[in-house]
């Protein structure tokens, strides 16, 4: 089972916190990788909050291909951050030759475009780069979005952290939001794109569990948006549905849960909003998920969201204090990074519940 977590704070903090959240949760032989998406960046990226940041792991040839592509499309490179690396012998990591975190400025003719046009440009650019790199097997592009950085690697999370010096807080890479996962990949060939969290246009999501409606979700999602690709993991379905409900359909957030785990018909029939809920269930039946799952998601405004499958077959806990909130698969992770919080206020959401931590760190909780 994947362990997943998220930390949200009023202050910038270092990704080592995310490692400290995750490592106590390791059991047996899991933790075959480490991945995180961080948002609302401080440190070296603080100056570039409105400029798209590309997260790339690639070969030298791949780096050149990306550089040429971006140049040809009129993107201007503003700032590049290359993480310091420790190549100690015996580290369990299958590292790529290059990790590039590059901030760009939009092409000249896009600078006055609408927000939507810019966001579509970023998606199309990421998709084009992904296709290009994939075709030649020269690397991976994880995200291309303002104020968002993604790191994914295969190996032991501790060793990955040593390799990228994630234990050392130099102040370079800090953020207010991190969604993180130490993954165990059972069903699919281990590929970096299969590692949560997944990202599309400001929406980040990781999930632990097994989505038994993967095939029907995938077959439906493919036709909904050009960005719904990959499907290396059955958890990508959750992200695409979140993106679809909130960004494409522009429905209020509470309807996400009604889409993925609709209420039984009998209960819908007793509700005052039964007309709406019935229509949602019948129209989006192919986005229903099944099987055991917990979802942790980060929205474009930095809100964090968590909910479970309809039978609550996977655990999750939310806890924190005035400055920092965290979501975690297991309580031990929370205890490590927030040992002094009031544990009586910890939340263990039920199968019908959705918990959202707002940008102001207010915790909202409602029943489906």
């Amino acid at each position: 089972m994947c362990r997943i977590g998220a930390i949200k704070s009023k202050h910038y903090f270092h990704p080592s916190q995310a490692l400290r959240l995750m490592i106590p949760q390791q059991e047996g032989h899991d933790n075959s990788g480490f991945a995180m998406v961080i948002q609302d960046l401080g440190g070296v990226f603080e100056r570039f909050k409105d400029k798209p940041l590309m997260s790339l792991a690639c070969t030298q040839k791949g780096a050149n291909m990306v550089e040429n592509y971006m140049e040809a499309r009129g993107f201007t490179a503003l700032f590049e951050w290359v993480p310091s690396i420790t190549k100690a012998p015996g580290l369990d990591i299958k590292a790529m030759p290059h990790y590039i975190f590059q901030v760009y400025d939009y092409p000249e003719h896009f600078r006055n475009s609408t927000k939507e046009a810019k966001e579509d440009l970023l998606l199309d650019t990421r998709l084009a780069l992904r296709a290009m790199l994939e075709k030649e097997d020269q690397g991976f592009i994880y995200s291309f979005w303002p104020d968002v950085l993604t790191l994914k690697e295969i190996g032991d999370p501790r060793d990955i952290a040593v390799y990228f010096r994630l234990w050392d807080d130099t102040g370079d890479m800090i953020a207010k939001n991190i969604v993180v996962q130490c993954r165990q990949n059972t069903n699919y060939e281990i590929v970096r794109y299969a590692a949560h969290p997944f990202f599309i246009q400001g929406y980040t999501l990781c999930a632990n569990g097994e989505n038994t409606f993967y095939t029907k979700n995938k077959e439906y999602q493919r036709s909904l948006n050009r960005g719904y690709i990959g499907f290396e993991s059955d958890s990508q379905n959750f992200l695409y549905t979140l993106h679809y409900v909130l960004r494409s359909l522009k429905w209020p957030i509470k309807y996400y849960k009604h889409v993925i785990t609709p209420l039984p018909f009998e209960e819908i029939g007793k509700r005052p909003d039964k007309d709406v809920l019935t229509l949602i269930r019948q129209t989006l039946g192919h986005l229903e998920i099944n099987g055991p799952n917990t979802i942790i998601s980060m929205l474009p405004d930095g809100s964090m969201l968590t909910c479970c499958d309809s039978k609550k077959l996977r655990p999750v806990i939310i806890g924190g204090d005035e400055d920092t909130m965290a979501i975690s698969s297991e309580v031990c992770g929370l205890n490590t990074i927030l040992p002094n919080r009031n544990r009586e206020l910890d939340l263990y959401p039920g199968e019908r519940e959705v918990v959202v931590i707002t940008p102001e760190l207010e915790v909202q909780r409602w029943k489906q």
């Binding site: 097994e210 038994t212 509470k254 709406v276 129209t283 099944n290 039978k311």
Partner: protein, 544 residues
């Protein structure tokens, strides 16, 4: 050399022979009285018998004229193997046996008429569904559900479903509000009792199915719907509360619609739906057929016709395209019930089914509420045997092709796919239904299995199949009041209810291991097959 006439007919020319044991027979006459086909008779035969009556064996042979039961040698009275003689015989003295060396197909067309019969195809009985198993079982990756304890939501849509972008929603105070009317959709049990008319069935058999339907709805919480078939409905039912469980069929003969329309102002509830029948899997390209032998007085009254062969035309007169059918027929039937009742269409599976389905998916009025696709293994009350055995299309791949065509356009589920034609042919309807659902069906419809549950003994190996004759020995497919009395409709309805309760349990027993609490529509990943060709065609996993 004894003279023999080549063209003389003997019982050995027939598909079924009577095996008669005179030593067990007491000449009670029950078998002769029971046989509706008049296939046997009591006659005197000169027989050689050896008898010993003393205390010591003293065998004595003599020739003697004796009464015996004998099979008739006329084609019109050929035994159909129904076995009623065996059922009624108190002494197990008689039974029909299959005759592999028969010449019946060559004799039965005498007079220049095509062979007619009922039942299912006797040639295409090979079953793809039995080559598929549910192979994706949760084992450690995720918990299987407990079929006894978990709750399951096994319902299917009947009606036109909109695309998400078409939903008339507006956001008000953080809530979605409905701003316009949407097409009617009912969520019903994923089994529809398919269309067999009053006429094809005896009124009592039809009634038994209707009783079972109502019982399942009202006592068992299973919203099963029954389709009337093209033959109208009893007016009393049209005006009753139970109409809500009925899908009324309209086919090319419009039989029964005179009464239905007249009853409309008196209806106290809406019917569950309307099903426009374009074609039937058992005899695609042929319209309905009710031989005059079955057009009894009450059938004449319900349908408003004289006693004659009732042939529905092979197509709906005046409709020459899909678009026209949608514009005229769907629209008028939707309008008839003020757009409150879903209207669906039933077609025989055909090489062209995908084109038809694609076309319907573009229906601009959102008034096509279901695509019922009927395969070659479906049954019928009467058809030309050449149609039954040599026309039609297997349902499994056709259903899958339709579903995948919808997937390609992102329109799966918009017009619910209902598949039928051979569902439950081996008696295991839940497994058949489950597999069809995994391949993309929203639900299934089944018909032939219902008379079989009532007691029909016909099968796909030429047994009985005499539904067209008016001589149905079980009282199910005849209008002869003496034969109809053979059917105990309460027991019959109970058999259907019991079967459906078991069906429901079995469906859950299949949903639980794959970890699904709602119907796995399109979950093709749950299926595997050991047949490479089936795997390739259906895009499911091959395993060996």
């Amino acid at each position: 050399m004894e003279t023999v006439k080549t063209q003389d007919i003997t019982c050995n020319d027939f598909s079924w022979n009577i095996e008669y044991r005179p030593e067990r027979c007491t000449m009670c006459g029950s078998c002769v009285a029971t046989c509706t086909f008049n296939a046997i008779e009591a006659v005197m035969e000169r027989r050689s018998i050896t008898v010993s009556t003393g205390y010591q064996p003293e065998p004595a042979q003599r020739h003697s004229a004796m009464p015996v039961i004998k099979q008739k040698k006329t084609v019109a009275n050929a035994c159909v193997g129904c076995g009623m003689c065996e059922k009624v015989c108190p002494n197990q003295a008689i039974q029909p046996v299959r005759n592999e060396d028969n010449r019946f197909n060559l004799l039965a067309r005498a007079g220049g008429s095509p062979l007619k019969r009922g039942g299912r195809t006797n040639l295409s009985a090979d079953r793809v569904l039995d080559k598929i198993v549910v192979g994706r079982i949760s084992q450690m990756t995720d918990p299987s559900l407990d079929s006894e304890r978990h709750s399951f939501d096994a319902l299917a849509p009947f009606g036109r479903v909109l695309l998400p972008g078409e939903l008339p929603f507006a956001v008000q105070d953080g809530n979605l509000q409905l701003t316009a009317k949407t097409p009617p959709v009912s969520w019903i049990y994923p089994v529809v009792f398919s269309d067999m008319s009053v006429g094809a069935l005896s009124t009592r058999a039809w009634e038994a199915i209707a009783i079972a339907t109502a019982y399942l709805n009202e006592k068992c919480n299973m919203p099963v719907r029954m389709c009337s078939g093209e033959g109208g409905m009893p007016v009393k039912l049209l005006k009753s509360e139970h109409l809500k469980y009925m899908i009324i069929q309209i086919a090319s003969g419009h039989f029964g619609w005179n009464r239905i329309i007249k009853a409309m102002p008196h209806m106290i509830t809406d019917p569950a739906g309307i099903l426009i029948k374009i074609g039937q899997g058992a005899k695609p390209g042929d319209g309905g057929l009710l031989p005059a032998a079955k057009v009894a007085e009450h059938i004449q009254a319900i349908r408003g016709v004289p006693k004659a062969d009732l042939l529905s035309p092979p197509n709906h007169q005046g409709l020459y395209s899909i678009e026209e059918s949608v514009q005229k027929m769907h629209m008028s039937l939707n309008a008839a019930f003020k757009f409150r009742v879903p209207v669906a269409i039933k077609c025989a599976a055909s090489a062209t089914s995908v084109s038809v389905y694609n076309n319907l998916l573009r229906d601009p009025y959102y008034i096509c509420g279901g695509f019922f696709l009927d395969g070659i293994q479906g049954g019928t009350g009467a058809a030309n045997e050449v149609s039954l055995d040599h026309t039609g299309h297997p349902i499994v791949s056709k259903l899958r092709e339709c579903y995948m065509a919808a997937v390609k356009q992102g329109r799966q589920g918009q017009i619910p796919l209902w598949a039928g034609g051979g569902i439950g042919m081996t008696g295991n309807a839940a497994a058949d239904a489950f597999k069809m659902i995994c391949l993309g069906a929203n639900g299934v419809f089944m018909a032939k299995i219902l008379p079989q549950l009532l007691g029909c003994i016909g099968n796909e190996h030429g047994r009985c199949n005499a539904c067209n004759t008016g001589y149905c020995p079980t009282g199910i497919c005849t209008q002869d009041p003496r034969l109809v009395k053979r059917l105990d409709i309460d027991k019959g309805a109970q058999a259907i209810v019991d079967y459906m309760l078991a069906f429901d349990q079995e469906l859950k027993k299949l949903m639980a291991p794959i970890g699904n609490s709602s119907l796995p529509v399109g979950r093709s990943d749950a299926l595997v097959t050991t047949d490479r060709a089936v795997a390739d065609k259906l895009a499911i996993q091959y395993s060996c």
